[in-house]
């Protein structure tokens, strides 16, 4: 499986390198603005860093789905399926590489954000006061500290990885069960929306049944539940997708 993961990374490293270059440029912009006390440059750096973070996680995930689509609908599929590996291993390698990349990117941007905020606070005491004021306005359940920031970030990353695996499922359905049928792309996209929508509704329904109104907002229990719930459904979607790939896909 190690070799499969290695080649999955090889297929996607250019897009990741481009994202890193953009991150470095905007980080330099932010640092230059902070050192030179130029608020315009500093603000530009911050805005683009936030945008790059969101885009990076989005692009890595979407590109993973695109790669899977290419790997099962073109002749390049032979490169994977002629190797002595079953579909569970092939898809598993894709999932590990993609989810691992999203997780690493998420941790990287989390750490970068924490460093930048600390750096900003050290250079500008007013920022700390502003953050305190925002937290006071948000109230106990919505206020943000480092611990909450990390937990919420992990929660969002997990939900995104679940969305990616559901994307894998939709692409596989389109290339196998619906292959050659009219509107297979649209049907699989609707299926994707339905599954992600249903899982979210179910999540909210369970939350409503087991939590009281005053627990709305952040609690450790809620975050742990979210993580377990979405990791569980990620595994379920992975197994279903690999089974379809193994039994219904003609490369």
């Amino acid at each position: 499986m190690g070799n499969l993961i290695k080649y999955e990374f090889r297929k996607t490293w250019i897009i990741k390198a481009i994202i890193l270059v953009f991150t470095a440029i905007f980080e330099l912009l932010f640092l230059a603005g902070t050192f030179s006390k130029n608020e315009d440059i500093q603000a530009t750096g911050i805005i683009f860093l936030v945008l790059t973070t969101l885009c990076a996680l989005f692009i890595i995930g979407i590109y993973g789905i695109f790669r899977l689509h290419k790997d099962i609908t073109t002749k390049q599929s032979y490169m994977l399926f002629m190797t002595p590996h079953n579909s569970y291993t092939i898809l598993g390698a894709k999932l590990i590489e993609n989810a691992g990349s999203i997780l690493l990117a998420g941790v990287f941007y989390m750490v970068l954000a924490l460093i930048d905020i600390t750096f900003l606070a050290a250079y500008n005491g007013e920022i700390v006061e502003a953050l305190d004021l925002i937290n006071e306005i948000l109230g106990e359940h919505y206020s943000i500290d480092t611990y909450r920031f990390i937990m919420i970030s992990f929660d969002m990353i997990t939900v995104w990885i679940f969305n990616i695996v559901t994307g894998f499922f939709a692409v596989t359905i389109s290339a196998s069960v619906l292959n050659g049928k009219k509107g297979s792309g649209i049907i699989s996209f609707i299926l994707y929306l339905f599954i992600t929508g249903f899982i979210e509704k179910l999540h909210n329904f369970i939350m409503d049944c087991f939590t009281s109104a005053d627990m709305i907002g952040f609690t450790t229990g809620r975050m742990v539940y979210n993580l377990i719930y979405y990791i569980g459904f990620t595994v379920v979607m992975y197994v279903i997708t690999a089974w379809i790939m193994d039994n219904k896909l003609s490369v």
């Binding site: 080649y7 090889r10 490169m79 399926f81 002595p84």
Partner: protein
């Protein structure tokens, strides 16, 4: 031994392979012959474990085709399938990473024979060079069964000779070679058995030498005889 038992493959609105039963023994070079769309490629892909039959079974050494049999069966597709970012050298490394029977020394030797440079980008190769690369990387495996789908497609006469020589280098008593091609005359001198696939069905397996000595017939003559009633797109 590679055994096909009542193998059928259906796609939406089409039966690509229809109840093919046959046996391929080690120590022989087989030609798989039939017009376009007769089911040759589909059967090979099933034997390579790339697709599953709708019904029936293909067995290798008594075991159904599976992930494990891919270690012994080498398949070469007629279409180019390497990743665009690869160089000729990367293709060899990829095979070395996934197939224990792959020999980098043999690959280097075959590349040298084919006059292919390792630094060349795959996407820049001509169709002839691509055909040579596919054969070189497949034959650099020490597999028990080689299945080559149209290895002579798109290459000139001289390149065909070197490709056929490269294929024959790997033939020995313990191996089975299966080559599909439309170029019947090109195969006649190198294969000893010929399998005919007609309208997705098995239409016979013939000993090429016996055809010559007993029936006084070349493989090309037999091909014409078997497929004389098949619509060949205007060519009679």
């Amino acid at each position: 031994m590679l055994e096909s038992i009542e193998v059928t493959k259906k796609f939406v609105g089409k039966t690509a392979v229809d109840g093919i039963t046959m046996q391929l023994e080690p120590g022989h070079i087989y030609a798989m012959l039939g017009p376009n769309g007769s089911g040759k490629t589909t059967w090979m892909k099933m034997a390579a474990g790339l697709i599953k039959p709708t019904s029936g079974q293909i067995r290798y050494m008594g075991q159904p085709i599976s992930v494990e049999t891919k270690n012994d069966i080498a398949y070469m597709s007629t279409e180019p399938y390497f990743y665009d970012w690869m160089t000729v050298g990367d293709v060899g490394k990829y095979y070395a990473d996934f197939f224990k029977d792959f020999s980098m020394d043999k690959y280097d030797y075959l590349l040298e024979k084919m006059e292919l440079l390792k630094k060349l980008k795959v996407k820049s190769l001509s169709s002839g060079m691509m055909a040579k690369l596919k054969v070189a990387v497949t034959m650099a495996r020490d597999a028990k069964v080689y299945m080559l789908d149209e290895p002579l497609n798109g290459i000139d006469l001289l390149a065909r000779d070197s490709v056929m020589n490269m294929i024959l280098m790997s033939a020995d008593e313990g191996k089975t070679l299966l080559i599909s091609s439309h170029l019947v005359e090109e195969l006649e001198s190198v294969v000893d058995k010929a399998i005919f696939i007609k309208n997705s069905k098995f239409a016979g397996i013939y000993d090429v030498e016996a055809l010559r000595t007993e029936d006084n017939m070349s493989l090309a003559d037999k091909y014409r005889q078997v497929f004389s009633d098949v619509d060949m797109g205007g060519i009679q």
